[in-house]
């Protein structure tokens, strides 16, 4: 028995020391910036995580080829969080072990909030491309957003519909199990009270029931809505458009940035999306040179047309570059010092990117940029003023 206990202890001791050995802190490498990224690259939300991972990689390659940031090359590593708050913390800690000193991520709001609570303790500079909830930045001085926050999108959409007199009766279909969707929905409804239109129906669906929308559409139709607001992602929106067409219900459809990508859905008759309006900071077929170059490069490297997440991530890298140059940051700074320097610089800089011209950041860390309203005309996104 004694022997057995002893051997067990030995095995345990070995196992533990092995594990400890894995985490040799890499304090060296003070001649490069180490940018870590976190997002879902496996599972249901992998589309978004992979887009961010690829676009950031593309931007970093460009930055490195052009001489790096302040003359220092950039190293890059992306970790999977499986869309799980707990796993995203593990990813964050793994990146810390790797020696990360700047971070882009997380891709989704929930993970971003969970990681921000930890990163604010380390004062690690964190720039999220697409974590749009206000919880990501609230009380965390070190966290900044590239995308619009959910309230801004909801208010912006309500404002746009009201000012342009697009409708008098509005119906909403949203995903109550999704943070992004319910966040926009709430602010839209709150702002709608100040606008000259009326919300006649607000119907929710959840992640478990996102294939049949006939009930929601029927209610919108019965209530006489002449505009349906869709603060959801494009996969569900394409089904809604198809089903509305089958029912013979043809209101105006209005969406947010989640609708970007609807024209690329497989087996979806893109002509149904004709006339759909969306507020989005990025459209892959925009005419300007920067967007066209980005889309061509991305397509050449990864074989896909980049979506809005990719554009946000691409911008994020250039924002980091701009802030680091403004702050005169070097990799030799400690993580916390770098964080403070970058935070101060972020509140001073303005950056022109794919997702907006003259982006600037307020004290909370939310971005100021003009939303662009797009309409799908002849199978293309085109800017409406």
């Amino acid at each position: 028995m004694k022997k057995k206990v002893m051997s067990l202890m030995l095995v345990l001791a070995m196992a533990v020391s092995m594990l400890a050995g894995c985490g040799g802190a890499s304090a060296s490498g003070s001649d490069t910036f180490k940018i870590g990224g976190i997002g879902p690259t496996t599972g249901g939300a992998a589309v978004y995580g992979i887009a961010v991972r690829n676009a950031a990689e593309l931007a970093i390659k460009e930055v490195n080829a052009a001489g790096g940031i302040n003359g220092y090359q950039v190293e890059y590593k992306f970790e999977d969080d499986e869309l799980d708050n707990e796993k995203s913390l593990n990813a964050y800690n793994t990146l810390k072990d790797w020696g990360m000193n700047l971070m882009i991520g997380c891709v989704t709001s929930g993970c971003c909030t969970a990681v921000a609570a930890e990163s604010s303790k380390d004062n690690m500079f964190q720039l999220t491309p697409s974590g749009s909830s206000t919880d990501c930045t609230a009380n965390n001085d070190n966290v900044f957003q590239v995308c619009f926050s959910d309230p801004n999108q909801g208010i912006g959409a309500a404002d746009y519909i009201g000012t342009n007199g697009l409708a008098t009766k509005v119906a909403i279909i949203y995903d109550s199990s999704d943070v992004y969707s319910s966040g926009i929905y709430e602010k839209f409804v709150a702002e709608a009270a100040n606008q000259p239109f009326e919300i006649v129906s607000a119907e929710a669906f959840t992640a478990d029931s996102k294939t049949d929308f006939s009930v929601q559409l029927q209610k919108a139709s019965d209530a006489g809505a002449d505009l349906v607001f869709l603060p959801i992602y494009y996969t569900e929106a394409s089904l809604i458009l198809t089903q509305a067409n089958t029912m013979g219900y043809a209101p105006k459809f209005f969406g947010c940035d989640g609708l970007d990508g609807i024209l690329g859905v497989e087996n979806f008759d893109a002509s149904l999306a004709e006339g759909v309006m969306l507020l989005t900071p990025f459209a892959a077929d925009a005419e300007d040179a920067a967007t066209q170059k980005f889309v061509a490069d991305y397509k050449a490297a990864y074989g896909d047309i980049p979506n809005q997440f990719a554009a946000d991530a691409y911008d994020a890298i250039y924002i980091i570059k701009a802030a680091a140059e403004k702050a005169n940051a070097t990799p030799a700074d400690s993580v916390a010092d770098l964080g403070t320097k970058m935070q101060n610089a972020m509140r001073e800089i303005t950056v022109d990117g794919l997702t907006g011209a003259a982006m600037s950041w307020d004290a909370e860390g939310a971005v100021n940029k003009a939303p662009k309203a797009m309409q799908i005309i002849n199978g293309n996104y085109s800017l409406i003023q």
Binding site: M1, V5, L8, M9, L12, A13, V16, L19, A20, C22, G23, G24, A25, T41, T42, G43, E79, D80, E82, L83, D84, N85, E86, L89, N90, A91, Y92, N93, T94, K96, D97, S109, G110, T113, A114, A116, A117, E118, S133, D135, S176, S177, D178, V179, S182, G183, Y185, E186, V189, A190, A202, A204, T206, A207, D208
Partner: protein, 353 residues
């Protein structure tokens, strides 16, 4: 030599608890000397939660002999009730250990209550039917948490199942449970030391239960329902007892889990079917009815995907292959025979788990 059985069991239990304590001391030494990586430091509390979950499910699956696929549901109840409590009391009870102790009590009791209520109708079923009903229950809990809105202002609490606007909060009121967005800003009250204390308590409760009169009654139900009924054992009582204790311990694990995360959401990943299966895998791999095995399996299977991060997208593939190999090694009849042979050759009387 006459009383050999009892001391041996005691010795066995002491080894299990001893392993936990020794691991704790080792980790503490390593973290004091700065040898522990950030990743592992971050994993310590979740590890404790998973160990407690595995041990508690082993009580239902291994000792009571009923397959439950809704264990994550109880964890979810414990996590949300306790996080709700801590969020409400954050400014009232400022001394974290007391607040966390109360949170543990509340989480455990709520999970036990739900376990009791669910157990009454459900434990009349057996085998597959029980598994299906518990599975459904777990999903129901998760989905309720996704549509539940609770806010607080000077008038007290407001509830809604629709959205946070229909709470009708006055200016300055805050939404505590915000539907799918869950609870944000739970104070981080749990730590590794508390986790280990809870593991030891869980082990003491479960191991003592197994070796008690009640535990023997529970195991007799597992082994032969009709025979145990015929000797006057109150079947419903003992089934409910095991199920409720198991639920309460899962609730405690949930408390530990939720107080380690700033933002708690009920996603299919952490409180859904996937998690229930994950816990069941810990139990099956560690050996059904083998408490020490559950502890070790929970540790290995939680660490493995994280330590395989270097393999990037292949890690999930490797992880599943390792899982299959480990299951075969532990449970395939040929493998068991082979291991016996090998053990004999080395001249040791090794019992098979």
């Amino acid at each position: 030599m006459k009383n050999r059985n009892i001391p041996k069991k005691l010795q066995d239990n002491l080894i299990t608890i001893g392993i936990v304590v020794v691991c704790y001391i080792l980790v503490m030494i390593l973290s004091a000397t700065g040898l522990l990586s950030n990743l592992l430091q971050g994993l310590l509390v979740p590890l404790c939660a998973y160990i407690i979950l595995a041990v508690s499910l082993n009580l239902t699956v291994g000792i009571l002999g009923e397959l439950s696929l809704g264990h994550a549901g109880f964890m979810c109840v414990g996590a949300f009730t306790s996080a709700f409590f801590s969020k409400c009391m954050e400014n009232t009870i400022t001394f974290a250990p007391v607040r966390f102790f109360l949170a543990l009590l509340i989480g455990g009791l709520c999970a036990a209550l739900i376990g009791f209520l669910i157990g009454m109708p459900v434990l009349r079923l057996k085998g597959d039917y029980l598994a299906i009903v518990t599975l459904a229950f777990g999903e129901i809990i998760k989905n309720i948490m996704n549509v539940l809105f609770i806010g607080r202002d000077s008038h007290g609490f407001h509830f809604s199942m629709k959205d946070s606007l229909s709470l009708g909060l006055e200016e300055g009121g805050d939404v505590i449970i915000n539907g799918a967005q869950g609870i944000t800003g739970t104070p981080k009250d749990s730590n590794f030391t508390i986790g280990v204390i809870l593991i030891v308590l869980t082990l003491l409760i479960v191991l003592n239960l197994i070796n008690s009169r009640d535990g023997r009654a529970i195991m007799s139900i597992r082994d032969n329902l009709i025979a145990s009924e015929s000797i006057g054992i109150h079947i419903t009582k003992y089934k409910l007892m095991a199920f409720t204790i198991s639920a309460a311990l899962a609730g405690i694990a949930g408390v530990l889990y939720s107080h380690n995360l700033n933002s708690l959401m009920a996603t299919p990943k952490n409180f859904g079917y996937n998690m229930s299966i994950m816990i069941l895998v810990f139990v099956v791999l560690g050996g059904i009815g083998n408490i020490r095995g559950s502890v070790i399996a929970a540790v290995i299977l939680t660490l493995l995907p994280e330590l395989l991060r270097g393999l990037n997208d292949y890690r999930m593939l490797i992880y599943s292959i390792v899982l299959i190999v480990m299951m075969l090694y532990n449970w395939a009849p040929n493998m068991i025979a082979l291991r016996k042979k090998a053990a004999n050759r080395f001249g040791r009387k090794k019992e098979v788990a």
